[in-house]
């Protein structure tokens, strides 16, 4: 660090074209606008320059060349964009900061802009990944690009109908990485791609197809470096793509049972219904003073989901003939809900198709209403 007599100059080192292009790619990927007040952060970590570009849904870390300086600096996205024309005339840029002004210098001249206050917002990954695939950059990006690229023949009507891009499911298993996107809602066909990889453990996770495709189209790397993809299917919020030069974490897209659980929890929370979620994902909610269990089931044949709502009407029940007859009468009289005995409990339940989850609260109310009709009816018969 060189200290001038008047103001302190902090040298951020020499930036190569590849490093600057990666930072620009990260900035374009996160898509900050002038209102968001975001910008790439840069600091020196273990003698190396490290950049970080983050948003709620993604986090990109770029590992630059060797460099030693103190503090963390936030640059503007426009400054990074303005550096690109400058570096075209040279192989390197030198960055220096003086009194909240950052200057990029090449043989052709300089560009100087405001450099934001130092912040301490560097994020580090804390998720425990269990599934890994190692494979070359070109193989990975080819598999992702082909699966996530919007089909050529999509009609404007189909685009209007599908404002939420589909998920691309990434599966790592048995020395293969597979990407799958279902474009049928766009009037197109499903696409599955695969490539060889060195894998550890098996699992799947989904990411928004558009997000994946933007990674492929924005991040260019020199050569064919080895990449690692890592995640945990049950606990990860992000899928992590990393190589020696960069680490890209993108938020997973919840699909299937994960999405159903999220929708159910949001409904109950939105309606201020007291509820608890077990570590296996079963929910118990109080609806009109009746505790109701909500469990997501998956068909072993089709993979489709059913949501089973149950209320325990009676515990410690004896399976007397009178009780069984009364349960039969109840089943004749009830619509949708059905009662049955499980061990020593009388259960009242109803199964919902996964497409009916949006109306789950109506079904919960109906089940609570049916449960109230059985209040005090069965106890004398099964005592």
């Amino acid at each position: 660090m060189i200290v001038s007599t008047k103001q302190e100059t902090v040298h951020l080192g020499e930036i190569s074209t590849e490093e600057l292009r990666l930072v620009k790619s990260a900035v374009d990927f996160v898509k900050w606008d002038s209102e968001s007040r975001g910008g790439p952060l840069v600091k020196s970590l273990n003698g190396r320059r490290v950049w970080q570009v983050t948003s709620d849904d993604s986090r990109v870390t770029i590992f630059g060349d060797e460099c030693q300086f103190e503090g963390i600096y936030m640059l503007s996205t426009q400054f990074i964009a303005n550096c690109l024309p400058l570096i075209k005339l040279d192989d390197n840029l030198r960055l220096s900061v003086v009194d909240q002004q950052i200057t990029a210098t090449s043989i052709s001249g300089t560009v100087t802009m405001y450099c934001g206050p130092m912040t301490d917002m560097f994020a580090s990954s804390s998720q425990a990944n269990t599934v890994f695939a190692h494979l070359p950059f070109r193989s990975l990006f080819r598999a992702i690009d082909t699966a996530s690229d919007l089909p050529d023949n999509v009609s404007p009507d189909a685009l209007r109908r599908n404002d939420d891009p589909p998920p691309t499911k990434i599966t790592i298993a048995d020395n293969q990485l597979t990407c799958f996107t279902d474009w049928r809602s766009y009037g197109c066909q499903e696409v599955t791609t695969s490539t060889f990889a060195s894998t550890l453990s098996n699992g799947s996770i989904s990411v928004c197809a558009q997000t994946l495709n933007r990674i492929v189209n924005l991040f260019g790397l020199v050569g064919n470096p080895e990449f690692t993809i890592a995640f945990d299917p049950l606990t990860s919020d992000f899928v992590e793509f990393s190589t020696a030069a960069c680490h890209i974490a993108v938020r997973r897209k919840l699909v299937g049972s994960d999405l159903l659980l999220k929708q159910i929890r949001e409904t109950l929370t939105g309606l201020f219904q007291q509820h608890t979620v077990s570590d296996r994902g079963a929910i118990a909610a109080i609806i009109d003073d009746y505790p109701i269990r909500i469990c997501i089931l998956e068909s072993e044949l089709t993979g489709k989901h059913v949501v089973r709502l149950t209320h325990t009407v009676m515990r410690d029940a004896s399976q007397t003939l009178d009780l069984l007859k009364e349960i039969n009468v109840c089943n004749q009289q009830l619509v949708y809900s059905r009662a049955w005995i499980e061990n020593d409990r009388v259960i009242l339940g109803v199964d919902l198709d996964q497409n009916d989850v949006a109306k789950i609260y109506e079904h919960l109310k109906k089940l609570a209403s049916d449960a109230s009709k059985l209040d005090g009816v069965l106890e004398p018969l099964g005592a």
């Binding site: 469990c295 997501i296 072993e300």
Partner: protein, 111 residues
């Protein structure tokens, strides 16, 4: 509105019980609030068993201390939330058979 009073003695508790009894269970089912000792009690829909439980709980509290903590509405609310939580935990703890051809789905749980 009358001056607010705190539940502070066994005698007050007996008055509360008398007041609850005077209201009658039918009325309790229809009404979600009672006015007692200058204080408004907002009650959820109470079953016979629940009314019995709450008065017993208040009796125990009054026996344990000569000055029961103030804000009886909070006490009522806490008792019911606690009872609900016990019921919820019981629902989650019990084993439930799944239909033939189905299994419990693996899900990502954010606690």
């Amino acid at each position: 509105m009358e001056e607010k009073g705190n539940i502070s003695s066994g005698a007050t508790m007996r008055r509360l019980r008398r007041s609850l009894r005077d209201l009658g269970l039918d009325q309790l089912f229809a009404s979600d609030q009672i006015f007692f000792d200058g204080e408004l009690f907002v009650l959820p829909k109470l079953s016979n068993e629940a009314v019995s439980r709450i008065t017993t709980r208040f009796e125990k509290l009054s026996e344990q201390s000569t000055a029961v903590p103030t804000e009886p509405i909070k006490q009522v609310s806490t008792i019911f939330e606690s009872d609900h939580q016990i019921a919820l935990n019981k629902e989650l703890a019990e084993f439930h058979t799944v239909p033939v051809g189905y299994s419990v789905a693996f899900v990502k749980v954010d606690q």
